[in-house]
Amino acid sequence: MKKYINTGNKDTRSGFGAGLSHLGAINPKVVALCADLTGSVKMDAFAKAHPERFFQCGIAEANMMGMAAGLAIGGYIPFAGTFANFAAGRVYDQIRQVVCYSETNVKIAASHAGITLGEDGATHQILEDIGLMRMLPNMVVINPCDYNQTKAATIAAAAWQGPVYLRFGRPGVPNFTPEDQVLEIGKALHLNEGSDVTVIATGHLVWEAIQAAEILATEGISVDLIDIHTIKPLDGETVISSAVKTGRVVCAEEHLMAGGLGEAVAGLLAREHPVPMRFVAVNDRFGQSGKPAQLLSAYGLDAAHIVAAVKEITGA
């Protein structure tokens, strides 16, 4: 198993903030909007450096999405930021009509996604957003795994022509992908070549999957490990060739089983190359308050549960 080094825990939202600041300095067309969460979403450095290009929208997310669409029509590249729950669920119809159907170049910066938001509990822990967003025609959905990848994804989102839903999180998580990497939207990363089983993970669960693969390697199970930061468009070539090679696929995501990465992969493989699958995801329930690590364990999303899913599917 290839070795990955955690260079120190960092939150993915700060990776977004770093990417946005970088864009602000090099691209005068980049503007930002926020719904009263500038510090939480890490847009404060951009707001301070470029006050004329930052629009505080207050607690009025529907209007923020409309304003972002208008700025995009006028030729700007707006990043509209708030918590994922308010960036996806609360404004679904606005995103549908003025962003996706209108083909406006809006980037939705969705922070505090998933159960690892922690103590605030279920009202803020959206586990449905990948499903909601990937159903929309014209929408790109990216869920990067660490600080460095989130920074790279932010830069890639600005270069992409069209709507992007960029999903990231609150807690500090291991930072292990290369600094100053270039992220190619729609191209999955092969983290480890293996032969017994494919594990496809996204977001915070990529590190859990690495840990699981290390444990499994010591037990003689070889994992073909894929970090799939872009859920839509899905990298079909990488997914299918891995499934052909191993014949078994486990998907891991901090999201409901319904609508998420697992279903996207299952839909693809059902058409192209059906293989047995297991899903490490939340099964039809809401989250609750707790520490991120505690919640990952309690909701069946940590490395131990990925190990268990692999053992179940491989019969080990």
């Binding site: 004329e52 629009f55 207050g58 209007n63 409309g66 304003m67 009509q97 083909e103």
Partner: protein
């Protein structure tokens, strides 16, 4: 002021187009289209600084118009066609499979003159604010117009946008309300009363003008006053008092024709009341 009769004649043809399009399609929204017809005629044939040949979706260098009440698409399409944005003959494809004239305005369909899809209500004012801010950032002195409905003003997002425009001092924006007092289920008073819209917009910090939306003198006077207020640090709202279904006796002043197509006979009855001035499509 130009010859008012010229605009009345254009509006008469536009109302004929609306009736014929909705009747031809067997569906659509004639009531609100009729109530906004004089406003959009005045806007597109005099006030709006835009030429079909130089129109671009980004609005660079020209005034932009956003239609928030997407269901009055028959009116919007007629005015765009009569103003030369696309062939008048295309009006006959309204709501037909494969047409650029979708039931509600679409970007995907690629119709010139449309900046933004609309249909789901409450969203156009926010988009217009964003567009106005983009003009400010770019140093483009042209203006942004948006038409909303009174029924639509029951949507919460309208009031989010109302506050945002004032907060960001969006003073290159002229919003207009078609205040026809009707919506699908009845009068706005019966369905969910709006109260005094003048007081509301004033209270939000907007410059507010009330005008008669069927009197071209009043409409042009309102546009002139609105324009003079731009650059003063506040957005401008023109509340146009109108009548739903205006111009056709059996459609006027009732919500019955909000979203219903006339029969062939009813269409003929309506057309008999509207002079054909520019030639039917």
């Amino acid at each position: 002021m130009n010859d008012i009769h010229t605009y009345q004649k254009i509006a008469s043809q536009v109302r004929r187009d609306i009736l014929r399009m909705v009747t031809g399609a067997g569906s659509g929204h004639p009531g609100g289209s009729m109530s906004s017809a004089d406003i959009l005629t005045a806007l597109y044939f005099k006030e709006l600084n835009v030429a079909p040949e130089s129109w671009n979706r980004a609005g660079t260098g020209h005034d932009m118009f956003f239609l928030s009440i997407g269901h009055v698409s028959p009116l919007f399409y007629s005015v765009l066609a009569r103003r030369g944005f696309f062939p008048v003959s295309e009006l006959g494809t309204f709501r037909v499979y494969g047409s650029r004239l979708q039931g509600h305005p679409s970007i995907e369909a690629g119709l010139p003159g449309v900046h933004q899809a609309s249909g789901s209500l409450g969203q156009g004012l926010s988009v217009a604010i964003g567009a106005a801010l983009s003009k400010r950032l770019a140093g483009d002195k042209s203006r942004v117009f948006v038409l909303i409905g009174d029924g639509e003003s029951q949507e919460g997002q309208i009031w989010e946008a109302a506050a945002a425009a004032v907060h960001h001092k969006v003073d290159n924006l002229i919003a207009m309300t078609d205040w026809n007092h009707q919506q699908i289920d009845g009068t706005t008073e019966e369905v969910q009363s709006l109260g005094d819209l003048t007081l509301k917009w004033n209270a939000f910090g907007w410059e507010c003008i009330v005008a008669n939306g069927h009197d071209f003198n009043s409409i042009f006077e309102a546009f002139g006053r609105a324009d003079s207020l731009l650059g003063g640090g506040r957005p401008v709202m023109i509340l146009f008092e109108t009548e739903m279904g205006h111009g056709v006796d059996f459609m006027a002043g009732t919500c019955e024709w909000h979203g219903k197509s006339p029969s062939k006979e009813q269409c003929e009855r309506g057309l008999a009341q509207l002079e054909e001035t520019l030639g039917d499509y």
